[in-house]
Structures are given as structure tokens and as C-alpha cells.
Symmetry: C2
Subunit: 447 residues, 2 copies
């Protein structure tokens, strides 16, 4: 579809472009704009869009495309789009724009929108308040079903957020919720207060966005009311934003676990190389310096190494296996905590389980190793040293892999921070110490 | 809340338990059952639930609790729950139960449900067909709005899935969709065919569940129609299931990237230790054997090691840094592909970007290293060897980190499979080769 439109645009077949675009979803249309580098063509395509879909298509665009369009269109066109945008998309856009564009946008916003935006911009970006929108239907508990339907019709929203209506009192306190389905099934003169759910699930403006997203998924909700600290309704969050938050938090965990500092929501291809490097280099340096500690430990055993250089050839295997065992454990635990499957109170249960897993893995791996070394070198002494070290390393790695993330969580840090790379580094040091410690004792006749 | 109910249950204050449970969400009530080990108490609590919430609470329970309840209740109670459950939850439950429980469930299902379940069980578990449910509203295009509302009322669903209605012809071909909001805003005698969206987004029964979940998030949908290969409507998928799929796929990527074979949807604490070990041991052995290759490479340099044992102390740092650089790149690329931010056609752009990132990281890290070694050992030769190796290692690691996952995708493998552990292993071998290769050349006078 997208390629068809691009081809038609190139051939200047605008009537056909318009026809094709009409049948497409707005998000797909928005993607076409990503592919157009020439501002004139972009503007022409934008002006082909029917008025009623222009604003929606615009909200689906990436910030850089939005900016190019804002800079190209007239004030009148801009006002038209801004009036038609949902408030949450509006606020998101403003947060991404440079100051001069924001100024032009604000100058072309209605007075009402301007004050709403300024109010919404005050909430922290990663809080419930930062996600919410004002597109919802509300009424008093004394209304009848017929009156409620009138309110829904007159609110004039064209979004799925009308399907849950919020019942508030004179001071806007949230008293309950009622769904359009319940209204449809009720008698026309029934009263809202007799139909409404009086214990609705809600969040406060400052609640962390990750917690909000988890509540959506736990309670199978489509929209979540947001209240201030006096339980007055100030907005709602819709499920599409909750899904975005879930994906964003997952990305952040992936990045943390690979030793990357948060990249924000910029896409990879649009992030400049120096910025990617900056996000990665901090942890690389920290981990490099820590790995030097392991190296320094090795210096103590220079004599042993010079006497039995064969020992050195087992270092990579011991280090890698320790690292892998540790990251298996830490990934499992960190993910389990992110999904609320593992809680702090389960600490001993988790540790005990990891120890048992470690023992099983250790026995199998060290057996494979012992046989291999014995067959290849016929050296039972070295085979014993390597196998014993492997058992120690695996037990240490699996323990660290569950203890450190849970400890981080207890200290209110993000558990993903102490994930694989850090555990690998600590395990490395432990396995080198264990290896030469055991070697010096067991092979004392040779060293 | 949960703890309150547990305490009240212990004190046998059943009236208060009932009162508290009435105000709770079904998913929270379901969680109470997880905490009760005694079957009699569990059964007593279950029988306190009002009939209309019993089935919903039941669908939120974990499979093992569901099984204990099925085994404890009477056939009459079982029939009551089964009649009230949604078909997708029903099918999910049956897939988790042992044969004897399935038999009892089927014997107590209505004839209609039995045939539907058998039909739904035929679809692959990870396909659109395996996710769908039959709770939706459909009608012909010739209906008026008033008639459409009658259909909605008479279908008698109590789920948010009524808000999008499906328009089908006599052969059940999907012709369009219409939302309840559009019906509310239209004239009562308007015809459906004049209101409906004629190009609805839909999926086919065999579409992969991950693709389906991505479409939900791309198109901001709440329910997705599923059609067979003749475009006949056979079911819908609801957004709660799409979110579960997203989380499941993310978990799978986390696991793959840590070298764990898929654990399925069992929770950590309920998975026995031997099973966890089994999921982890395959990759541990593969990676251990690969690391032995790196070890074997070291054997070639026994002479160099015996002469300048100091060289050995840089091995951990070189290996760890290579591994970390590789997993940073692979994590970024794999995540970017999972989110559709990076596509196969971007291959060269991505590689070029990683090379630039690698150069920046390499220059900084090798400078830090050079200075440290120079200051600590005053050995410019060794400092040069280590710094050059570091540059080579980082470039190789970053290249592998983007090339291998993209190659895997091209070969229709899951990119997460060639993630960090495998890249670490390959990088290790490369960095050892580079290290001693450079050392032998540059330090030839000493070795």
C-alpha cells in the first residue's frame, strides 16, 4: 500500500493517491510521510487528506515529520489540526518540539486548549498525570439513562473512551463508573446511581506509569480514571498509551540488562552515533575497570601460570560459563519481578530454588568437562581442579544472579541495573580466585 | 485487602469475608485462592462468591487452583461456572488440565459449547485462531440502527466486545464494522451499510500471535476480527489477550537472549528446579563447548604466556569488554527489530552506524587502557598491544552484534537466538586471536 502511494505520488497521479489514501488506516498514511524527503510533495500529500482524518494522521507521525509539516503549513491549517487533536497527543507533540515551534503551536491554540496544555505539562513525564487526556464523558449520579445518552451524544467525542462514563459529584469527586453497555441494557428511566459500579479502580496523578500499565493488564481495563489527591477526577488514561508504556518499560529493561543507559523513546535509526555511543560507554568503562580487578588477581598467580600454562586455557570456559549461569538466573528473576510473579517475600524460596538448579547444572557440566579433559590430556589432577572450580563458579553465579537483583529491588533500585554484565564481572573474579585457589592446593606437588 | 480476607477466613468470619469480597475486583479475589492451601477453606470461600462473579473469578485463577476447585465442587456447580465462562478462557483452561479433568469438564459442558471448543482447539496455540473467542455481535448490512441496538441487547453479552459490531453477509463474509458510538450518534432509521467502515482491519486464523498483537498496538484497536481463508468471520480477539501475548513474547526474548530455552507461561515459583535446569542446560553446554575453542587457541600461545605472564592478566578485561560491546549492539538491534523500528532493508545503515559507535567507544576505552597500563607498568609495548586489541575487539563485537541477529531474521530464525551469549563466545575467540597475534608481532623482541 505504502509503496503504491509513493509510486503514484512520483507520477503525480493525485486523484488516485487520494482514492488509495482514503481506504487506508491513518497510521499507515502517517508512515508514508516518513518516506518522503521532499517538503513540497509532503505538503501536497497532506493537503490531499480529507479534513476529518488530517488531524488523526498527524498525531500518528513521528516528531520530526510533525515538525516539518507544522513549519510548512499556514496558520489556518495549523489551527484546524490543533482543534481536532486529542489532548494527550497534543501534549506529547509539544514535549518533542523545539521552542520556536512550540511558540507557533501555542499561538494557534484556542485559549481553552492553551490553559489545559499548560496544566497537563506540569505532571512528571513518567506519571499517570503525564499520560492522561481529557476526552471522557462524565455526569451526575441523579441522571436517568435517557439523559445520560444525551450527554454522551452532546460530548461529541469520536473515541472509544466514551464507553466508560464517569459519575462525579458537584466537586468533581469520582463516585463511580457506568459502561455504555449497562446503559443500553437498562430501562430508559433508570437512574445512574442504581446502575453504577461504586468501587471503580482508579489511579492518582503521580502514580508511576509502569504501575498504571500493569493495572491495565491486571484488571483488563480499556480506560483508567485519574484523580488528584482529593479524589477529584482530572483525566483518564487510554489503553493504547498503557501498551506503549509497557513496551517502553520492556525496552528499558532490555537496555539496562545489556549495560546501556536509557535511550528514551527515540528510534535507533534516528539516534545519532555519538548519542548511542554515549549511552553505552559509561557502563563499558565501569565494567572494564572492574574486569581489571580480575586481571590483577591473575597477576598473583604468575608463578603458577608460568609452571603449568595449560591452566590458562581453561580461563575463557570458566569465565563464560559463570557469566552465562549468572545471566540466566538474573534474567529469570528480573523478569519474574517485572511481571510481579516474584516478590521480596519469596527471597528464600527463590534462592533455594536457584541453588538446586545450580547443583543440577554444575554436576552435568563438570562431568562433561572432567571426561573431556581426562580424555584429551589424561591429566586427572587438572580435570579435578577444573571440575571443582566449575561447581563453585556455577553455584556462586546462580546465587548472585538471584540475590543481587532482589537486593536492588529491596533498595528501591531498578533490579535490571545489576543484571548480566555486572554479575558476569563479579563471577569472573570469583571463578579466577576459586580456580587458582583450588589449583594451588590440589596441584601443590607440581606448582 | 487480600491479607484482610485471609485473616477473616482464619477467624471464620464468613459474613465479613463475603462483604469484603463483594467490593473487590474478581482478579484480586482469584489471587486469594492462590494463598489458600486447605481445600475445605478454598471451597468455602468459593461458595461465598455471588453466582454472577463466580465464573469470572474462576477464569482469573491459575490452572492449578482451577483444577483443585473443579475436583472439589459438584457437577451442578461446575455446569453453572462453565455456562458462564467466556469461550477463550474456557479453551485456555482446557489446554492446561490433565485428561481426567478435561473429561469431567466436557461431560458437564453444553452440547453447543462442546462442539465450539472442539473446533477452537484445532487452531495452533500460537495463532490468531488459538486466541480468539466467539463473544461478539454481528448483523446484516440492511439493518437499521434501531434494529442493530435490538441485536446488541438480545445478544446478551456483558463484555466490552460489544462496542465494535461486525457486518456480515449471508455466507458470514466480513463486510465491515460499525461501532456502538456511531450507532448512538446516527439517526434511528439510518441503515448499517451507510454507517459501516468498509475496509476494516482483520487477521486470518493462522496468523502468528505476535503479528496480531503488534497490529493491535499499531492500529490502536480493542478487538480484532478473525476470518478464515475465505474471509468468513469466525471469531474475534480481545485486547487483554493481545497484551498477554506481547508480554509473553517479551519474556521469550529475554529468555532467549540469556540462553534459556522457552519456559512457556508457567510462573517461576511453580516450575520445578529440574525443569528450570533443563531449560538452561542445553545452551550452557553448547556455550561451554564453544568456549573451549577459545581455550584451545590459548594453548598455541603457551610459549608467549610462559615468557610474558603479564599478558594473561588482560584476558578477562578483553573478553568482558568484547562481550559487553557485543551484547549492547545485539540487544539494541534485536529490540529494534521486535518493535519494527529496524527492517532488513536497513542493514547497511545499521552496520555503518554500529561501526561509528564502535570507533567512538574503541578510542575512549583504549585511551583509558593505554594510560592505565603505562602508569601502572610503564610498559609502552604491552600498553600498545592491549589498546590495539581492544579496538579490534570492539569493532568485531559491535559488527557481530548487528550482523548476526539481522542474518538470523533473514533466515527466518528468531533473532534473539543469536544474542549475547553466542556473540560473547565468538568475540572471545576473536579477541584472543587478535591479542596474541598482535603481541607476537609487536613484542617479537621479547617473545
Amino acid at each position: 500500500m505504502i509503496d503504491t502511494v509513493l509510486a503514484l505520488l512520483k507520477e503525480k497521479k493525485y486523484a488516485q493517491v487520494k482514492q488509495t489514501v482514503l481506504e487506508m488506516h491513518e497510521v499507515d498514511v502517517a508512515e508514508i510521510f516518513e518516506e518522503i524527503s521532499d517538503t513540497e510533495t509532503m505538503l501536497r500529500l497532506f493537503r490531499l487528506l480529507p479534513k476529518e482524518t488530517a488531524a488523526e494522521t498527524f498525531s500518528y507521525m513521528e516528531a520530526d515529520v510533525q515538525q516539518r509539516i507544522i513549519e510548512a503549513i499556514t496558520d489556518k491549517e495549523l489551527r484546524y489540526i490543533l482543534d481536532d487533536m486529542y489532548l494527550d497527543d497534543y501534549v506529547d507533540m509539544i514535549e518533542e518540539m523545539p521552542a520556536n515551534v512550540v511558540k507557533r503551536v501555542m499561538n494557534n491554540s484556542s485559549r481553552e486548549n492553551r490553559s489545559l496544555i499548560n496544566q497537563y505539562l506540569k505532571y512528571p513525564e513518567r506519571s499517570a498525570g503525564g499520560l492522561m487526556t481529557n476526552e471522557y464523558v462524565y455526569f451526575k449520579r441523579t441522571l436517568t439513562v435517557t439523559q445520560a445518552f444525551d450527554v454522551i451524544r452532546n460530548t461529541g467525542l469520536d473515541k472509544e473512551t466514551v464507553y466508560t462514563c464517569y459519575v462525579i459529584d458537584a466537586q468533581r469527586h469520582l463516585e463511580g463508573t457506568v459502561s455504555v453497555l449497562e446503559l443500553l441494557l437498562a430501562e430508559p428511566d433508570a437512574r445512574i446511581e442504581d446502575l453504577m459500579e461504586e468501587n471503580p479502580i482508579y489511579v492518582q496523578t503521580l502514580e508511576d506509569q509502569e504501575e498504571v500499565a500493569k493495572m491495565f493488564s491486571r484488571y483488563d481495563m480499556i480506560a483508567m480514571p485519574v484523580v488528584d489527591n482529593e479524589k477529584r477526577l482530572v483525566g483518564i488514561i487510554t489503553i493504547d498509551d498503557a501498551i506503549d508504556v509497557l513496551q517502553e518499560e520492556n525496552t528499558e529493561d532490555f537496555e539496562r540488562m545489556a549495560g546501556i543507559t536509557a535511550s528514551g523513546d527515540e528510534s535507533y535509526l534516528k539516534t545519532p552515533a555519538w548519542k548511542l555511543a554515549k549511552n553505552r560507554i559509561v557502563w563499558l568503562i565501569i565494567l572494564m575497570l572492574s574486569a581489571m580487578v580480575t586481571g590483577a588477581l591473575l597477576e598473583h598467580y604468575e608463578a603458577a601460570i608460568a609452571t603449568v600454562p595449560l591452566l590458562v586455557s581453561f580461563i575463557p570456559m570458566l569465565m563464560d560459563t559463570g557469566g552465562n549461569c549468572g545471566s540466566q538466573a538474573s534474567t529469570t528473576i528480573i523478569r519474574g519481578m517485572a511481571l510481579d510473579e516474584i516478590e521480596a517475600k519469596d527471597f528464600l524460596k527463590v534462592w533455594f530454588k536457584e541453588i538446586r538448579v545450580a547443583m543440577i547444572c554444575a554436576v552435568v557440566l563438570s562431568a562433561v568437562n572432567f571426561v573431556r579433559i581426562w580424555l584429551q590430556y589424561g591429566d586427572v589432577g587438572v580435570a579435578t581442579v577444573v571440575s571443582l572450580t566449575l561447581i563453585a563458579t556455577i553455584c556462586i553465579a546462580k546465587s548472585l544472579g538471584c540475590v543481587l537483583p532482589m537486593l536492588a529491588k529491596k533498595l528501591r533500585l531498578d533490579p535490571a541495573i545489576v543484571a548480566s554484565p555486572m554479575i558476569t564481572t563479579i563471577t569472573d573474579a570469583c571463578s579466577i580466585l576459586a580456580f587458582f585457589g583450588i589449583a594451588v592446593r590440589l596441584l601443590s606437588d607440581r606448582l
